[in-house]
Symmetry: none
Subunit: 194 residues, 4 copies
DNA sequence: AATGAATGAGGGTTCATTCAT
DNA sequence: AATGAATGAACCCTCATTCAT
């Protein structure tokens, strides 16, 4: 467990290989959804993906790399949604929260499982890079409404939102009215500190 | 790893037995602090505790039970501090946040490790019981200042506080000014919804 | 594969454990005798030793360590025989050769297998130490008959003897008259260079 | 790994095929020189040779066959040099030793690696054939100087020479003066027994 | 009560080899 | 002829747990 940097062992060139690669990552996702993180072993991943264990190791140097790829896949989906929000929008905050909630509840068990796994990895440069990117995007989107926000306050707001969405994803908080609650929490915090 | 319910195999009555039991739990805590959760295995726990693996299994039915005991130990320490806060205090919120931060940073690596482990356990009745107890205590302490608080808002406030303290414990947020930030976040949220 | 230094993982204290440890090493020896070096895997060693694979790994950190222990065992047997030869003897050379041949043909297939395995290990300090010790012993035993011998000539003589005994052990040379041949080769070389 | 007999799967007639075949064998040689025998796997050989694994298996039925071809290649180079020594030469022994040393030190790591690998193969008819051929050549070359030599003495002399050259190749013996040492050892042995 | 030797299911990974394209 | 994706037997090793002493 080093960081989030490792790449697939071999870049798949043929069409079939790309599909195999994706199937392996998706198999890992399904196992995390249906069972426990403990149940995630390479043999099961291979079986679930419908490939042999050898094939799995052609594309990923080790188990860790599969998870990293999966985490990246999910992260990139969320980042893409956030980047798509227009900067000038009056409802940027609402849109961001909506995206986060949509992402969390698209595959809630997967999101929860990855949350834990991600934290088990040492915070490599890539994990920080994502936090930084979210901060940058948020900054752009929120400045219009809240003025200049101190970096630490921005991070605090992100942590609040993230925590609430995750908690709801894990069933600790009712999903009903979640969006409003998150928006309220973030908005009231930012207004209080600016 | 099923739930948080298992009890130590025998309720130790003799003085030495209690000490052994505590030594085993503390050994687990130390390993979690000094190494990784992956490094936590029963043989190492026994060695670190200065007892044989056989003795360990005389006091705990399985590895899970050791962790549950450790989690309970830490949780009870925090709950005791929270319960000690006088109900009539004007600064009850500040006191609660201070207690949480003190607890988190007393043994930050341990707190972070347990956070992850706890989530890996299925949410047994006991975990919920703790959440409920914190909600009850909080309710008592906060009503004076914020009036009647909806249960979901109380939970939300707790999740916010918890998330911020944890994030700071993991280094995602500066520790400096943490107390103020948490108080501000909780206070502004509660004021916004009441 | 580093050097010959690794020790058993855990020094066996109980009588049973010592026996187990020896059984594992002997099992490895038997497999090398009866099959190929390729057939030497830890599962087979454990099975042949009549213990579980887990037990094997209680005493040896890895496969390599078993081989190192076996090599040491055999080496020490030979060294003990060589050391037992009286320094003043007129027939020291003959006695040394006899010891080497006896050792080689006590378990010829084992000796041959270990020869190859030993060379596959990087020449650690210990392997050199043995060569040095043999040189020292030889020097003491041969000086009386051949006068002062240059170190390089001593090594050469040892290599000659070793090579001939090994070749005979592998069936490349007839065993008949082996002792005389080795003694002749060494004696004539040493007389030629002194 | 059975014996030295297997042939390349197809006798390549086309120019490119011969080159591919040679590239594969040379790739194996380079890997043995640069890394360990453990690092010698067919995928790596193919990669190093710049061909696909499929192509490799078009030319060689299995991994073993590649090594056999390599061993033959090296062996034939040495035999060719030995055969080139004129029978009537007074310095035939010196020439033979020089050839062996030249061969050993041309690619010392390769020679050492092949030495081990060769011994790991069961002594097939081919290995014996080589020993026999060397004996025949040696006999022709040495009779003039040493008279009729018993077969066992010839073999002994060859083993002595081979052992010394190999030992020097592996760094156990100084290379300096190696030629003289080998010649002295062989000459003094042969004079002693004839 | 305590010890620690022993167990063995299970997991990560490699690599010689095959075969569809 | 060449490619490289795919295979899966086999291997090394860990660790939760049991049980004879």
């Amino acid at each position: 467990m080093t960081s989030l940097t490792p790449q697939p062992r071999k870049l798949p060139t043929q069409r079939r290989a790309v599909a195999t690669c994706a199937a392996i990552v998706e198999a890992a996702a399904r196992i995390l959804e249906e069972r426990d993180a403990d149940a995630l072993n390479t043999n099961r991943i291979a079986e679930r993906a419908g490939v042999s264990i050898g094939t799995l190791y052609q594309y990923f140097p080790d188990k860790h790399a599969i998870l990293v790829t999966l985490i990246r896949r999910e992260r990139d989906m969320l980042l893409a949604e956030l980047r798509a929000i227009p900067e000038g929008s009056d409802t940027a905050l609402e849109a961001m929260v909506a995206a986060a909630i949509r992402h969390q509840f698209a595959r809630p068990r997967l999101a929860a499982a990855l949350e834990h796994i991600e934290q088990a990895f040492p915070l490599g440069t890539e994990a920080n890079a994502m936090a930084e990117e979210i901060a940058t995007i948020s900054s752009g989107l929120l400045t219009r409404r809240f003025g200049a926000i101190r970096h630490s306050d921005l991070l605090t707001a992100i942590v609040i939102a993230r925590g609430l969405v995750n908690a709801a994803g894990e069933g600790l908080l009712p999903r009903d009215g979640l969006s409003d609650r998150v928006v309220t929490a973030v908005k009231s915090y930012l207004l209080a500190v600016t």
